[in-house]
Symmetry: C2
Subunit: 192 residues, 2 copies
Amino acid sequence: MENLTKTARTTVKRAPKRGIYDKKILYKILDAAFICHVGFIDNHYPVVIPMACWRINNCFYIHAATNSRLAKQLRTDSDVCATVTILDELVLAKSAFHHSMNYRSAMIFGPMMEVKDAKAMNIILQAFMEHVQPGRWQKVRLPNKKELNLTSVFALNLDEASVKIRSGGPVDDKKDLQRDVWAGTVAIPTKD
Amino acid sequence: MENLTKTARTTVKRAPKRGIYDKKILYKILDAAFICHVGFIDNHYPVVIPMACWRINNCFYIHAATNSRLAKQLRTDSDVCATVTILDELVLAKSAFHHSMNYRSAMIFGPMMEVKDAKAMNIILQAFMEHVQPGRWQKVRLPNKKELNLTSVFALNLDEASVKIRSGGPVDDKKDLQRDVWAGTVAIPTKD
């Protein structure tokens, strides 16, 4: 299994015990996600925008309206950090301090390059539809030329990435284990 | 109802038709979220990290290990964009182009300041537990001095924020409405 390259740019390391550098695990996390949070620098300030996302092989994709601020931004300064997080469970412990959450997350670093080739765009957008609902591309009306002109696709290579996962129950101090309070993992509550 | 202040820093505007500047709506989105994505600039590159989050009044909070990279970073350069996104549904249309997602999102901009006062920290951490599971603070072992020393809390004022929401079904072109493919909204599929 190929390891992910870590370069000097990846200056923020995740906590080592939850850091995993394995492409199969990275791909599985990305394939389970429908959105990522794309961070970029605009006028010296950080900006984070949620975007739909999908993967083909060793590339990660987003799309945006051709004239959107994000598309214009990426054409000016393509350096991003795209982070995918799937929040799985709340971890309730017997002490306040040991509460946690179970999640799978991936941070991808690099330049996000625009895909301009029409044939490539078609393949990439079809893969997006497959990700959203397999088989649907064969049923819907496909994008016409005007719609494709309104759509920009950007690609991020997956060689510079890190993964962080927490799973399992709470890890309480021994002295707290007898405390009369339920502990364990629960689904993420949905709030309106 | 108070409007959110938009300053020159908020240079990335959301699409106007989905942009909403109303604090009640902002608060409701934040209160429904368990994580945010905090974007900051580290060594001239953007970095986006998922963090647990919660709100009290007009302030938004995260916590981090005192010696974590994020805590050190925020003490060096506190400017962040913290983005909360609640993904509600996939929106399946009759044309590929009009597929979308229903979501509620908020972007908050500003300096994220460390809370150092012990009494304030206690109130803020209690509010976090209330957010995770109401009433639990009264049952669990509360943080001791050592644990509090290992925990840093950071606050972000909610005056500089923007909200973006999509709800409702697909909006297809009239000419596609007769097409023989199901269209509507579906829950977000869960993938392992």
